[in-house]
């Protein structure tokens, strides 16, 4: 085990950031796949689908950033 007590916090911050991006990227990947399939099926709905995709991506990224802030707090303090 590391001797510096803060070492565990840094370790946790690194693992936390990795897990965070796994969840976020998986969610946004599924979103992008569904949006692209929708555009492929109906090209004239592309504008609406693109708008909804951007909004949903922003919301998912917002949640991702929640846990990223926790990881950053672990690394700083």
């Amino acid at each position: 085990m590391p001797t510096d007590p803060k070492a565990l916090a840094y370790f946790a911050a690194g693992i936390g950031a990795g897990l965070t991006i796994m969840g976020g990227a998986a969610g946004i990947g599924r979103l992008a796949a569904a949006a692209l399939e929708g555009i492929a099926r109906q090209p004239n709905a592309a504008g609406d689908i693109r708008g909804a995709m951007i909004v949903a991506a922003g919301l998912i990224e917002g949640v991702t950033f929640f846990s990223l802030i926790v990881a950053i707090l672990l690394a700083i303090k």
């Binding site: 510096d4 070492a7 951007i54 909004v55 922003g58 990224e61 917002g62 690394a75 700083i76």
Partner: protein
Amino acid sequence: MIGVLAALAVGSPPEAETAAVVHEGPAEHLLDHVVDVRYGDLLVGPFNLGPTKHLVFFALAALVVLVIIRLALRSYKQGVPSGLGAAVEALVVYVRDEIAEKNIGPEGRQFTPLLLSFFFFILVAALLGLMPFSATATGNLSVTLGLAFLSFLAMQWAGITKFGLVHHFAGMVPPGLPAWLLPIMIPVEILGMFSKPFALMIRLFANMLAGHMVITTLLMLIPLMASINTFFGLTMIPISLGLGLFIMMLELLVAFIQAYIFTLLTSIFIGMAAHPAH
């Protein structure tokens, strides 16, 4: 990194001290570039009203928005704008029609100035933060707290002016609800009422902060690599600059998207308050 240099300057400290000093280095150096810097002290009672960097750029962003809108207004000749006026009008019409009227309905016109203020201010503050030696005003939790608080006030205003003080809060729980569900529904609804602006605040703050931290980290890799070996540092320069440039371009896109999402979500919440689904 500064810690490494300090350790080297002191001499040859014992192992544990070097390790601890190196630990402090990266985090603080990273933070130095994204946290506030106070320019002067102006003590009024218990508060220190001295200007900080974020405050200066907050005021500058507001000033730039006002100047742009004034210039755009001036370019109107016989009801037809040109140049800057046309660009601003495109954005204004988009916010009014697609965001305000679609989500709030007929009362959308009343809330359009507020939504436009949000949109332009967040956009200009984010774009100003991308310039050298500047700071992003919305990367400060206090600023986004203020914006989210205004959004919260707008939600309550929409509901209270339409339905009255009591009915607005009474309309949060669905009618025809069995009485034993009320102790669960009321805290849930109140929590939902506060969590929406809270999410807005954290989302904007984290997006602005994370972008700048990533850029700073990438650029900080250059001296970090150079302290190990000068050749590593030299080869790191094009890689870091390339990646940093790419992230800067992504930040431009993120600025637009975050302004749009904040405005859109505010209008959706106002619409939910003005037209409760139940």
